[in-house]
């Protein structure tokens, strides 16, 4: 049976792509961010996952407002990205895991998740850059299954619903007949707001409390808040923490808090990073 061996949650911003392309990882501005990934890479080398389920949000590359899904799951043979409008360098293609994609889709629809299935799908920086942070040589040693959550168009799914989605993904992986080691990678947040007079808003207190909550006794703590309240507390794009909730939920009730990093700012974003393992 397939097994979730761990989950990584991280922030994403397009500027990371620029920093990688220009080799700025050790510049004083970027060092505290990039160095945070060293222990993760160590862990990946030791644990060698076979598949990554990437829970992320599209930033207007694959989806426009004509067809905007709440939850979409990729089922393509390969996934590529694009320059997204500002010419960021594109990364090598990712190989899909179509049988696992369809198993996830079958399981989730059975559990009354109203998915949009994507048999062709562009993946944006929220997908590609965290992968490049985990595997800097960009020779992906894994296949992938993209799971995308809408944060572009309100209403976005509630934190409660995203938690349930993550739980169902956990059950789906556990019921998969293959023997793959699965990593869940959730990308987004933490607090930041790009638009409006409140641009530059960051909420360190909330972020730290949120990170604590995920590895504590009440990992569903953040699900008490509505989408509107989460925007108020974390910024218009801080709502991307929904990816972290779904990711955490795949791991079950208790987890091992393996590693954390938190750094302000990368671009306009409070950057968080966590590695969790399911508690045995």
């Amino acid at each position: 049976m397939a097994k979730i061996i761990g989950a990584v949650t991280t922030s994403h911003v397009p500027a990371i792509g620029g920093a990688i392309a220009k080799g700025k990882q050790q510049d004083p501005y970027w060092k505290p961010f990039f160095d945070g990934f060293n222990p993760i890479r160590q862990w990946l080398g030791d644990h060698k996952p076979d598949v990554v389920v990437v829970i992320y949000n599209d930033h207007g590359l694959n989806f426009f407002l004509d067809k905007m899904p709440t939850f979409s799951v990729g089922a393509a043979p390969t996934y590529v990205n694009a320059d997204e409008g500002w010419g960021i360098p594109s990364l090598p293609p990712f190989t899909g895991n179509q049988p696992l994609s369809w198993h996830l889709i079958e399981s989730l629809v059975e559990e009354e998740f109203d998915l949009t299935t994507c048999q062709e799908m562009l993946v944006d920086h929220a997908f590609t850059l965290p992968m490049a942070l985990l595997w800097p040589d960009q020779k992906w040693p894994v296949t992938v299954v993209p799971v995308c959550i809408n944060t572009v168009q309100a209403p976005v799914p509630s934190a409660k619903r995203c938690w349930k989605l993550g739980e169902a993904i956990g059950r789906a992986v556990a019921s998969w007949a293959g023997d793959e080691k699965v990593l869940i990678l959730g990308t987004g947040g933490l607090s930041h707001q790009l638009d409006g007079e409140r641009a530059g808003f960051i909420n360190k207190d909330f972020d730290l409390k949120f990170m604590d909550s995920l590895v504590g006794d009440d990992p569903q703590w953040a699900t008490q808040f509505s989408g509107h309240e989460l925007v108020e507390k974390t910024g218009t794009q801080g709502i991307e923490l929904l990816m972290w909730l779904a990711t955490r939920a795949t791991l079950g009730a208790k987890v091992k808090d393996v590693f954390r990093n938190y750094h302000i700012p990368i671009s306009n974003t409070a950057s968080g990073l966590m590695l969790m393992e399911p508690a045995v």
């Binding site: 426009f64 407002l65 790009l194 700012p265």
Partner: protein, 114 residues
């Protein structure tokens, strides 16, 4: 749609905003492709007309003014692609919206470390 308490300095991109901004956002979505970015730069007015932007939207595009673009129904995720055409980064955008210099805006971000 708009019964929730206002968050100061923040516009939630809900149905109301979406209805207002469809043409503008569709144009910005097209900027995912370099050929379209080039076509826009070659003939800004013609490109806007092709997407049916209204006068408020066209004026905001001409002014490259982010707050005006949001007021005209622009969505941050799509507007970012418009900003990218001019090589503006998120600190430029932040400074413009908050009325700060870029350095002031950057300092504000660092100050969030507490």
């Amino acid at each position: 749609m708009s019964t929730k308490p206002q968050i100061p300095g923040t516009v939630i991109f809900d149905g109301e905003q979406a209805m207002k901004g469809y043409a503008l956002n569709k144009m910005c979505f097209s900027f995912n492709e370099k050929a379209n970015r080039d076509a826009f730069l070659a003939d800004e007015e013609g490109y806007m007309a092709q997407y049916g932007l209204n006068e408020q939207q066209a004026a905001a595009i001409r002014a490259k003014n982010v707050l005006q673009l949001i007021a005209a129904g622009g969505n941050a995720y799509y507007l970012a692609k418009f900003a990218g055409i001019f090589g503006l980064d998120m600190q430029d955008i932040g400074a413009q919206q908050t009325g700060m210099t870029k350095d002031e805006f950057k300092a504000k971000l660092v100050a969030a470390r507490g």
